[in-house]
Assembly symmetry: C2
Homo-oligomer: 212 residues x 2
């Protein structure tokens, strides 16, 4: 089954890691993975645009194919894989209504956290220099900090976004629950298997988030 | 079952309409609905904050409860309702892998469209006056127009966002497929049942999108 699957991915992208982790959890390790270089613009290559017409900045990946079926929204790929391989590997959707309600709720709150993370670490990527304001970046950082305090309380989150927070300098002293969660999950096999190669090569990340 | 459900909603909000339409499709008309006024700030009231700690601008709704279970992310509520009431009302998740892949893919592309819509019609709500740039609004409009051309081709979209596009002045002459889709669906019972009251009272909307 997994042999008819392929994934185009970019290193360090939380949406790509979501799909990679679900592939591991569902025991679909046979899926062909192809790493694209953001630096070389490979995520905007014709190969990607043929599958994903958006192909804009960091949006060309993940591009997942199963036979002729294309699913390139990361959440869509996760739902599709769980739905198609319900009884294979780990069951990712719980049975009880209460657990299901919580799981769906947190899953979509995770997107909110990711958007607020992008508004800080992606500020200089997405906003042209002449339109940037210190006040906007400050507000985005405050919004992210407010959101993080909710997650500190909830202590339920999505690992790829959390790993990226710490990669970009978040202080585990100021966010001890998130730090503990990060430490707790980073050795899980499905997560180690999706570790970005350039994070292994260069253990030091950025410090954009050190002061929030 | 529906008697133990309640929904706090705001008029004209696509996320609220998604949940309302799914409630109708699943024959859960008994759900108690309470309309909150954005103008009076009721979406930031203690009643809402108790359920939804974010409660920020237009994010306090929808707040959906089923018994003691709270689900206030609109996509989460839709997944939860379909999952819990699979055999009631209309089946919303298709069986075949190809249709499922397409459905999940479009569902999450729909979020991208909604984000790009918000970046135009919400520009003055979310960006303080001293940080606004004509160039940014122009870029956001261009990004929305590029996205819309994809949907024109795909002709698969989500009605609440489409209805809001036309409410804000989108030209059905320049986007004939979207216009036709809007006309096609607006009389479906589940959609009529969720029509925003203030749209009925005041048939004329805004013109923010008339020139894209």
């Amino acid at each position: 089954m997994a042999k008819s699957m392929s994934l185009l991915w970019g290193a360090g992208s939380p949406p790509c890691r979501r799909v990679m982790i679900v592939l591991e959890e569902k025991k679909l390790q046979g899926c062909k993975h192809k790493l694209l270089s953001f630096e070389k613009g490979e995520h905007k290559s014709q190969e990607v645009l043929d599958i994903n017409p958006r192909g804009q900045f960091r949006r060309g990946v993940p591009s997942f194919k199963h036979g002729d079926l294309v699913v390139n929204e990361s959440y869509a790929a996760c739902f599709y894989l769980e739905s198609q391989f319900k009884s294979q590997g780990n069951k990712l959707v719980p049975d009880s209504p209460a657990e299901q309600a919580l799981m769906y709720q947190r899953m979509f709150e995770g997107l909110t956290l990711y958007e607020k993370l992008k508004a800080v670490i992606g500020y200089t990527w997405f906003v042209p220099e002449e339109e940037r304001h210190d006040s906007a970046l400050k507000r985005n950082k405050e919004a992210l900090a407010t959101e993080l305090r909710l997650w500190e309380v909830l202590l339920v989150t999505f690992f790829p976004t959390v790993a990226t927070l710490f990669r970009f300098g978040l202080s585990a002293e100021r966010y001890p629950q998130l730090g503990g969660y990060n430490a707790l999950l980073k050795d899980r096999p499905s997560i180690k298997a999706s570790w970005p190669p350039h994070w292994l090569e260069n253990l030091k990340g950025q410090d954009n988030l050190k002061d929030i």
